[in-house]
Symmetry: C2
Subunit: 239 residues, 2 copies
Amino acid sequence: MVQTKFAGSNLHFKPEDILPSVSTDCVIFGLDNGKLKVLLLKRDIEPSRGLWALPGGFVLDFEELEMSAMRTLHDTTGMSNVFMEQVQAFGQVHRFPWRRVITVVYYALIKYRTDDLRAGPDASEINWFEMADLPELVFDHKHILTVTLQHLQNKVRSEPIGFELLPPKFTLTQLQELYEAVLRTTFDTRNFRKKLLKMNLLEQLDETQIGVAHRAARLYRFNPNIYQKLKEKGFTFEL
Amino acid sequence: MVQTKFAGSNLHFKPEDILPSVSTDCVIFGLDNGKLKVLLLKRDIEPSRGLWALPGGFVLDFEELEMSAMRTLHDTTGMSNVFMEQVQAFGQVHRFPWRRVITVVYYALIKYRTDDLRAGPDASEINWFEMADLPELVFDHKHILTVTLQHLQNKVRSEPIGFELLPPKFTLTQLQELYEAVLRTTFDTRNFRKKLLKMNLLEQLDETQIGVAHRAARLYRFNPNIYQKLKEKGFTFEL
């Protein structure tokens, strides 16, 4: 049997199906009102009961690594339909205190949501945390988070990633907030817009925001041809 | 015991030290007269005796993943002092026919050399192969090579990687050959030079080649400040 499709919870696997030295861990970044957050679980099992951890678990003998990431995310958080990409393997000798465990890390940047969150049986709590204000994390999960954030930051500087998080028509302020959240910095607005518009990635629309209290801002959308081209060939967004 | 430094061959480890479900594999690219080659071993053990394979082996319980890659490279090829970077983990369920093995892949792009090559005890032959003319490879090693080459190609388009392979002073032809080898294509010389010089990465020297049969070409070197900046911030070399 090979499990190549995610088919919902799989909590009832047999102990002999577990690969004891390989796990997957999931870094789920969410954008909440211009703040970059990450999804964490409070462990209700040993080792390190009471500390916060990334969602994850051991790989099963018959499932692909990607499937393992999706399954463990589902089993521990309730979330499904999160498409993740592999970051790398982390395998420091004593990263897991009981024995040698190599973990393969996957990540996603998604729209912030809480409606389908449900902590699995091994956790006492589940929550989103601001990247700027993290609790104490278990094992090497702080290091994993740091490397994965760096990976995401490189991505948004070289591919139009994250743009999927915006509505189809958006303001330049929304776009700037997305970049500021991911890169955890503040940009000079005039400079940011100038650099961005130079890429020809945006189409200015003859429309402005509706239903806002402040002066309605101009709306933009992505030029799909340029977007696709930049996605394939890459770019450097020096901000 | 934790092995964090590469200390030469370690072929005499005990069977119980082996992590049976995790290996490392090494993709060693070498540039030989403008041709991109990869180092392969002909397996003299089962499974798949007689097929060619990437250098690699099982991870030992007490060694870091990077060390495992360096050790297995040394044990199988004789090479040392090759500094590799992780690509990613490959873990398809049936990639290794006997049982589930996840392999963590490391790679390097080095100057072509044969002086320190010495096939380990599990191989009948060791050789460099042109990427354009590969023999039949074992397991998923063809797939691993494809993904790793893509990884290298993305790198040379976004970081001044590979430039370390050139002599301190070089001609634009040498630089173009390096890019053509890695990206496995041919560039229009005028266009290539124009794009390259626009990056301000090169300093034109008041020197030309010496001891060449043809007309001596102008020599260049890297501007170390721009080089460092591009290494940190990245660039897009659209060729």
